[in-house]
């Protein structure tokens, strides 16, 4: 990590160049990326400052520092706790379902036959569909009057199911869309992981006639663990920040049934013009994601080092 170190090997063999220029080079090359970082950091710091202010766009003369006031208000605010609860429920449900389903599919497609590869490529398509558009697709399919899914469940005798427009089934419906879009993500990462596992332990287990369930729980799962952790953390970080699917489907409704963090913050800002409260909500979300992403980055770096062959 020394600042003076430049070319990793053979540095002395390189043709005589003025040394200071070589030392500056990495900084010059990464300067543009640095500028982008700075440009993003400014609004980030601004948001932190806003979160400590009473700041409403429609009442500019009331603006002023109130310290942790916005945060303290949350403690006794049922709307905040609703947001917190809905976000956590949504995150846990989507990640658990996607992990189980994604792992199952990856195991089914494990052998690299042409058919299995074709299936895994087809499953990429939902993942490459814009989540906001995916929500619109499911909205058309779950329309109570003509939606194909409403028709299908009516064949099973369920006639009064209102999908996203009923508070009791709204969460189920958006979770379904999330599962449709993002399960392939987990599947693809785990499939790559499964196929990169060494063969010897499995061959040895097969020779010894070890039962399949034992192989799965004692060999496959432990060896796959780093991939499972990385994939779930990836999803966890995205899922707790879900905005597109929920906003496109119900805008957080019906009522406040799907009021997750970012949707709530968006409405605080644009509907109630309460910048301070919106920023405080987002800071809390950022704190949660920051803790998660630190765990994530550690895991991910380890996997990455292994994939690039210098573990």
């Amino acid at each position: 990590m020394s600042m003076a170190q430049t070319l990793p090997t053979n540095a002395q063999a390189a043709p005589a160049k003025p040394r200071p220029r070589v030392r500056l080079l990495p900084y010059l090359l990464s300067l543009p990326a640095l500028l982008v970082c700075v440009a993003i950091l400014v609004p980030f710091v601004t948001a932190a400052v806003y979160s400590l202010q009473r700041y409403r766009l429609n009442l500019p003369y009331l603006r002023g520092f109130i310290g942790a006031g916005n945060y303290i208000d949350f403690l006794s605010d049922p709307a905040f706790w609703n947001t917190f609860r809905v976000s956590i429920t949504y995150t846990v449900l989507t990640v658990v379902l996607e992990l189980l389903l994604g792992l199952g599919i990856a195991l089914l497609l494990r052998r690299p036959t042409r058919f299995h590869n074709a299936v895994s490529i087809m499953l990429l398509l939902p993942l490459m569909t814009a989540p906001a558009i995916a929500a619109l697709m499911w909205k058309l399919m779950t329309n109570p009057s003509f939606g194909i899914l409403s028709y299908v469940i009516s064949l099973f005798g369920v006639t009064d199911f209102k999908w996203a427009s009923d508070p009791s089934s709204a969460l189920f419906t958006v979770v379904l869309v999330d599962v449709w879009v993002y399960t392939p993500f987990i599947m693809i990462l785990l499939l790559a992981g499964l196929r990169s596992l060494p063969r010897q332990p499995f061959e040895a287990a097969a020779l010894d006639g070890v039962p399949a369930s034992f192989v799965f729980f004692r060999i496959t799962l432990p060896m796959l663990a780093p991939y499972i952790i990385t994939a779930s953390l990836f999803r966890l970080l995205d899922s707790i920040q879900q905005f597109d699917i929920i906003y496109a489907m119900t805008q957080g409704g019906p009522g406040d049934r799907l009021m997750v963090f970012q949707v709530q913050a968006y409405l605080e800002f644009f509907q109630y013009t309460n910048v301070g409260r919106s920023a405080a909500l987002l800071m809390i979300l950022w704190l949660i994601t920051n803790i998660l992403s630190n765990i994530f980055i550690k895991n991910w770096l380890r996997l990455r080092a292994r994939a690039h062959g210098h573990a």
């Binding site: 900084y27 990464s30 052998r111 906001a132 028709y151 496109a248 968006y266 910048v275 950022w286």
Partner: protein, 285 residues
């Protein structure tokens, strides 16, 4: 697994069929719907066989939508054009900024480099609204609100980390000895970079570019906040379109098909690289 029983094979067959139906059906169904008129869509029970019509696409392309309340002018084609412009410009800018930086991070060990690389990576996971909401206030003051440049700049949040980390992995996999040999022959580092390193990392750069194009195209929240109607990409445009066109379901389906077709085709074309790209190079496919 190699010698599974008949029952096992039947189970796997059924499971794979159900999985394919669940994940493929929505795309197929919306595609079929986009060729139906409203009477055909509203028919119960729905039919798989119908007389296809191109009326929905014609209405979208001409911008004249027939609704219950009369003709409505909506330029969905404008949204499509915006998506192309915004995503292409964002990826080009990210490649210009990101590839040299990725090279620097791969070849030189310097503290600032790691800091930048990790800052960008952590932005990938920060709530986008945290940056966007204050930014929208700044943009209003700077006059960047609702400009292509302003939106392309924010799209760097999506494209730059992706390009930086994927391309860095590719540069790290190329032995520096080749470049050293080339430089011993009297070439400058710039020549070594443009003639040796970049061509060798070419597939990685192309994959990172394609993936970031897809992610920029699919982004919704950035333009929702920063763009007005005539700068909006398809993701935001389609939502506005649903509100405006009301019950013209065939036209909505056609708008959805037009919005997703480019990314789905790109994804099929680049599927080889998607695994690596999606995990930012943590899993080599």
């Amino acid at each position: 697994m190699e010698h599974s029983s008949l029952a096992g094979r039947i189970f796997r067959g059924i499971a794979l069929t159900l999985i394919l139906i669940f994940f493929m059906f929505p795309i197929v169904w919306i595609f079929l719907m986009s060729f139906q008129n409203n009477d055909q869509i509203l028919r119960i029970p729905p039919r798989i066989l119908f007389e296809p019509t191109l009326a929905n696409y014609e209405a979208l392309i001409s911008g004249q939508l027939r609704t219950a309340a009369g003709n409505l002018q909506i330029s969905f084609m404008r949204n499509l054009f915006n998506s192309v412009v915004l995503s292409s410009a964002a990826v080009l800018l990210a490649l210009l900024l990101g590839v040299p930086a990725a090279y620097a991070f791969a070849r030189f060990k310097f503290r600032l480099g790691e800091t930048i690389a990790f800052t960008l990576l952590s932005f990938r996971f920060a709530p986008p609204l945290l940056v966007l909401l204050p930014l929208s206030l700044y943009y209003q003051e700077l006059g960047l609100n609702d400009t292509y440049f302003g939106i392309v700049w924010v799209y760097q949040l999506i494209a730059l980390p992706l390009i930086l980390w994927i391309v860095r992995g590719y540069f790290e996999d190329i032995s520096p000895d080749i470049e050293h040999a080339y430089r011993l022959a009297g070439h400058s580092w710039r020549e070594a970079f443009t003639r040796i390193a970049v061509p060798l990392a070419g597939p990685g750069i192309a994959a990172a570019g394609l993936l970031s194009f897809i992610f920029c195209w699919n982004n919704f929240v950035f333009a929702l906040i920063l763009a007005s109607a005539d700068k909006q990409p398809v993701t935001v445009g389609a939502l506005a379109f649903v509100t405006a066109s009301g019950i013209q379901y065939g036209q909505i389906a056609a708008a959805i098909v037009l919005s997703v077709t480019p990314t789905l085709l790109l994804a099929l074309y680049a599927q080889r690289y998607l695994v690596e790209g999606l995990s930012l190079g943590a899993v080599k496919g």
